[in-house]
Symmetry: none
Subunit: 226 residues, 2 copies
DNA sequence: GAAAGCACTACAAGAGTATGTAGTTCTTGC
DNA sequence: GCAAGAACTACATACTCTTGTAGTGCTTTC
């Protein structure tokens, strides 16, 4: 007797979400995309904040996000979205071929980008490429990405270099040892441990163990592999 | 549109070196390249060993190197060439869209690649792109490269899988956020945050924020780069 | 339609942390 | 010989975590 239910989402079109503050841009993209048979714009927002609170963002197949956005920047937005659902596919859009920002976006979790002067067919191609597991991007950005892959150990920030003792403490921190445990292991007083920890926090510009560990590992101040 | 902002060392053509064991391939590329006004093949070799001993290799503007080579592989070859002159521009050539090898080549120092079924114009475009500071590659490879930058692809350990919500919390932990700050950001109660943290600790077999962050980063449960 | 599991909310208390301030010893450079 | 700095020791306090226990509402499974 039960009537068959309809599937919740539209079957064969991919859901695109647009986050772009320029209304003209936003609407023209929307028109272009909605005109295609295999995709549609499930939602469009003028800023990250609104997008992040929406339901559509989690269901999007592809998200096109402006980098230059009022309020929370597109880069912050990407981080936030990826934090919430790591499998999101995000393409950045930018007016300039702004290497630094584009690169940062990619590091933060975007998988490609397009400049705002793209043609209709390029826009659509970028969306399809992204959804099919590719990365739409120019050769110039691609090179930058590759070079970052080749040379990791460029450490020259002189003030973020830890002393031997500090690095040792940081390793213990990463193992979750308490002040007391470290004190015992290092033949130090508890306050001696505290002394080093303060200095580490100062040098890394943090104020908690977790953040120190995070920075330490990310900057390879302590061993990543063990 | 030939770029001419680089100070010219050689007359006006860029010097291309080819390392490719298949004679037909090698000679046809040579013919194509020599036919262009802005480039020429200064030398062509059937294997890395010969190329490495040559004088031309050091002077090349662009080197096209086969991956599948008898004797020293193209990947080894790249390493060797880059060791000797770090600024060399090397494009890999391969029959397959062999992700693993291509990726390894890029890590080793190549800046792009092309498949052997490229058209004449694609071959020439790849050379020019490479020489102008870009990276010729397909979107599929580009994505692979980017993901390695973002890091989290190898996540299969069944017992250390975090839920989306947990992973999100772990990212906040890595940023040193307090329970209260996370609660606000995630629209949760402080105890709701606590609930997830308990579960994270349980899954990762730890009992402090710092240790959770350490394990999370080392197992790439959260992004290493941001 | 009961049982189980998940995603929370809620309260509590001891443990551990972050940070300020201050003093000691030893080494190094001027 | 003395100032400066690194490497501690010491004490205090507010704050944050960790962990135990318990309850609610919703969904899935049998």
């Amino acid at each position: 007797m039960a009537i068959k239910e309809f599937p919740e989402t539209e079957p064969d079109r991919l859901n695109v979400v647009i986050v772009e503050d320029n209304r003209y841009m936003r609407e023209s993209w929307q028109t272009i995309i909605d005109f295609e048979r295999d995709m549609r714009v499930s939602a469009a927002f003028a800023n990250c904040e609104a997008a992040l609170q929406s339901r559509e963002i989690a269901q999007a197949d592809v998200i096109i996000m402006d980098i230059e956005l009022p309020g929370m920047s597109g880069i912050e937005g990407v981080k936030e979205i990826k934090r919430r659902s790591a499998q999101s596919t995000i393409i950045m859009a930018t007016v300039f071929e702004d290497d630094k920002n584009v690169f940062q976006s990619l590091q933060s979790g975007a998988i490609g980008y397009l400049t705002k002067k793209v043609s209709t067919s390029e826009l659509l191609a970028a969306i399809r490429t992204a959804h099919n597991g590719g990365s739409p991007m120019s050769p110039a950005i691609a090179r930058k990405v590759i070079e970052s892959l080749q040379s990791q150990p460029a450490r020259k920030n002189p003030e973020s270099i830890l002393s031997d003792r500090e690095r040792e403490v940081l390793e213990y921190l990463a193992d979750g040892k308490s002040y007391a445990a470290m004190a015992k292991a290092m033949f130090l007083s508890v306050d001696g441990v505290g002394y080093h920890i303060r200095n580490i926090y100062e040098k890394l510009q943090v104020n908690s163990r977790a953040e120190a560990v995070s920075v330490g590992l990310r900057k390879r101040l302590i061993r990543l592999f063990r």
